[in-house]
């Protein structure tokens, strides 16, 4: 399944490379996040990766996809909030992000509405 691909989450922030000092000393006027926060988030992500693998070995039937998506969403959310700084940035950026998610949901919702009602109308299953 593509949902539980963990490699996308293992994004290494620039602070782990040579720019650690620069960021910690606050040479830029951006909000500085302590290194410990990054480390904690990384550990949480790794933990969730283990959870993903464990869960994928258990068969929950129809709930499989939902559970996988739920875990993946938490991981993606953490990456967005901390590694991509949405938590600390100007309010404009989360707004833009949620607008795009909203329209993605619109696309899924209406396409599914068609497919589901098409099945019902034609009595095919």
């Amino acid at each position: 399944m593509a949902f539980d691909r963990s490699d996308l989450d293992l994004f290494i922030p620039l602070t782990l490379f040579g720019r650690l000092e620069e960021v910690l000393l606050g040479s830029s006027n951006h909000h500085v996040i302590p290194f410990r926060v990054y480390l904690n988030i990384l550990l949480i992500l790794l933990l969730f990766t283990v959870v993903t693998v464990v869960v994928s070995r258990i068969d929950f039937g129809a709930a499989n996809a939902f559970i996988a998506m739920f875990i993946a969403s938490i991981k993606a959310g953490l990456v967005l909030l901390y590694f991509m700084h949405l938590k600390y940035d100007d309010k404009l950026f989360p707004t833009v992000f949620f607008i795009s998610i909203f329209f993605l949901l619109v696309m899924f919702a209406f396409s599914h509405l068609d497919i589901i009602t098409r099945v019902l109308e034609n009595n095919i299953l």
Binding site: I99, V106, D114, R118
Partner: protein, 530 residues
């Protein structure tokens, strides 16, 4: 801000010279001109295909082409005009040139990305034309599955080309959003932005939100063709109708990517040439955003008879009607602006009035097509062809032409020949109605679209339509000549020939490299005439 010495003879055109200085330029004005040249070239190509289509349809039976050749010509006409002319036409050409100036900025937010977007258009177009060497493409510009999965190899190339061109559109949109948010001159708040900027801003939101979906859809189509992954192919458990959902999720908003900037141009023209404060500034500005938002909820109106469920059809039909509200708000505000104005009928204004007339016909016939009960009869007939040409040509192309004549003095510092420009307007306007009005009738009589032949009863109206098309062709050729003549031989233009109030009229014609000799400070709204 005092600048030491300003050379008043230097402008963006003579700042540097040589082809290389153009191909590597980061100046938004030069990139705009490069878009102008590219778009005009594509328009000429797409126009030639249009003339060939009308020649084939001039009389019953095979005339010029075999039926497969006709399908290819029709596909190329559609694909070129949509992806390479109308979508980049106003935003990337006129928008690129004037959005930063109207905001009082020196350039767009990301000049290098701006240049990259031009190259995306050129490379994408080259890839599309490359397909001609691979048996051509005959799917129509919509690439509907299942046919597009099984037809010639050229389809993969055209789809790949459209994918690349999509990036051009996304990057332009991104650039404009960032520019509007970050580079406004001191005093230029959102409610002092010209309506052209509002329209481009709304368009940019659509470009950024919708175009990636087209990209993904086209990639899926290529994956389906090359690897048979089974998303759209019913044999493999896929759903061909799903392709239409994905395609129109982009392509309906794309209709507004095409028309919103045109509405922006028309707002500028009507305010300037009525010499009156625009009526309902906020209503026009916000209705652009409203149209952009609503446009994401209506795409299913393209699928009423293609196997979509009845429930979905009813919901989409209802939602589509909502588009009429913000659109009508604009039209009524424009008319109210003209009312009791001191109207000047220069060529740009003629095009703006032409737009009002033709676009309204296009819009109202859209309501007929949005109503399921009538669409069942009109779908896939020439009624649809006439409807969207009234919107795309009668709307967008009219606005492009009006915008070009309006801004030629600013872009090149020279005036065009008013007499000949008016003649081109008359030829295009009359020719347009002669071409497409009979097509409403043909559609109502049941003539199906996209076929290379028709029943003898349809012949007289088709002949009228073809004659009209050639009239438009002549009109545009003269129009092109008027533009070229103005650029190279036109009389010197003053800074503000029309008495416009927006910022581009407060700098030199043509503008200097960084647009203004002194940083403008904005203290009033954009259309404060009286």
């Amino acid at each position: 801000m005092g600048t030491a010495i300003v050379d008043k003879n230097k402008n963006y055109l003579n700042e540097k010279s040589g082809l290389w200085s153009w191909l590597t330029t980061l100046d938004h004005k030069r990139i705009g001109i490069m878009y102008m040249i590219a778009v005009m070239f594509f328009f000429l190509l797409g126009g030639i295909f249009a003339m060939l289509i009308r020649a084939e349809l001039f009389k019953v039976g095979p005339t010029l082409f075999t039926s497969p050749q006709y399908n290819q010509v029709m596909t190329l006409h559609g694909a070129i005009m949509v992806f390479m002319v109308i979508i980049p036409g106003i935003p990337a050409f006129l928008g690129n040139f004037f959005l930063p100036i109207q905001l009082g900025a020196k350039d767009v937010a990301f000049p290098r990305i701006n240049l990259l977007s031009w190259y995306c258009l050129i490379v994408g177009a080259a890839v599309v034309f490359w397909s001609l060497l691979h048996h051509g493409v005959d799917t129509g510009w919509t690439f509907y599955t299942p046919y597009s999965i099984s037809t010639s190899n050229g389809t993969t190339w055209v789809v790949a080309g459209a994918f690349i061109i999509g990036f051009s559109s996304i990057l332009t949109g991104l650039n404009f959003i960032a520019t509007v948010h970050k580079l406004r001159a001191p005093g230029m708040n959102f409610w002092r932005m010209p309506l052209f900027v509002w329209a481009l801003y709304s368009t940019a939101i659509l470009q950024v939100l919708a175009t990636p979906v087209l990209g993904i859809t086209l990639l899926l189509l290529v994956a389906e063709r090359v690897m048979g992954i089974g998303i759209f192919d019913a044999k493999l458990g896929g759903d061909p109708v799903l392709f239409q959902h994905f395609f129109w999720f982009y392509s309906h908003p794309a209709v507004y990517i095409m028309i919103l900037p045109a509405m922006g141009v028309v707002s500028e023209l009507i305010a300037t040439f009525s010499r009156k404060t625009i009526f309902g500034y906020k209503a026009i500005a916000l209705s652009s955003v409203g149209i952009a938002a609503v446009s994401f909820f209506v795409w299913g109106h393209h699928m009423f008879v293609s196997g979509q469920s009845e429930v979905a059809g009813i919901i989409f039909s209802f939602l589509t009607m909502l588009v009429g509200v913000p659109t009508a708000i604009k039209v009524f505000n424009w008319v109210a602006t003209i009312y009791k104005g001191s109207v000047r009928f220069d060529t740009p204004m003629l095009y703006a009035l032409g737009f009002l007339f033709l676009f309204t016909i296009g819009g109202v016939t859209g309501i007929i097509l949005a109503t399921i009960a009538t669409d069942v009869h009109f779908h896939d007939t020439y009624f649809v062809v006439a409807h969207f040409h009234y919107v795309m040509v009668g709307g967008t192309l009219m606005a492009i032409m009006g915008g070009i004549y309006y801004w030629i003095p600013k872009m090149f510092g020279r005036m065009y020949n008013e007499y000949w420009a008016r003649i081109t307007f008359v030829l295009i306007f009359v020719g347009f109605n002669v071409t497409f009005f009979p097509q409403f009738v043909l559609g109502a009589l049941g003539m199906p679209r996209r076929y290379f032949d028709y029943l003898p009863v349809y012949e007289p109206l088709n002949r009228i339509s073809s004659v009209g098309a050639w009239t438009i062709g002549v009109g545009f050729l003269i129009g092109l000549f008027v533009i070229i003549q103005a650029i190279f031989k036109g009389e010197k233009a003053p800074e503000n020939p029309w008495g416009g109030k927006t910022l581009e009229w407060q700098t030199a014609s043509p503008p200097p490299h960084e647009n203004f000799h002194n940083q403008p400070v904005v203290t009033a709204g954009p259309y404060e005439y009286r």
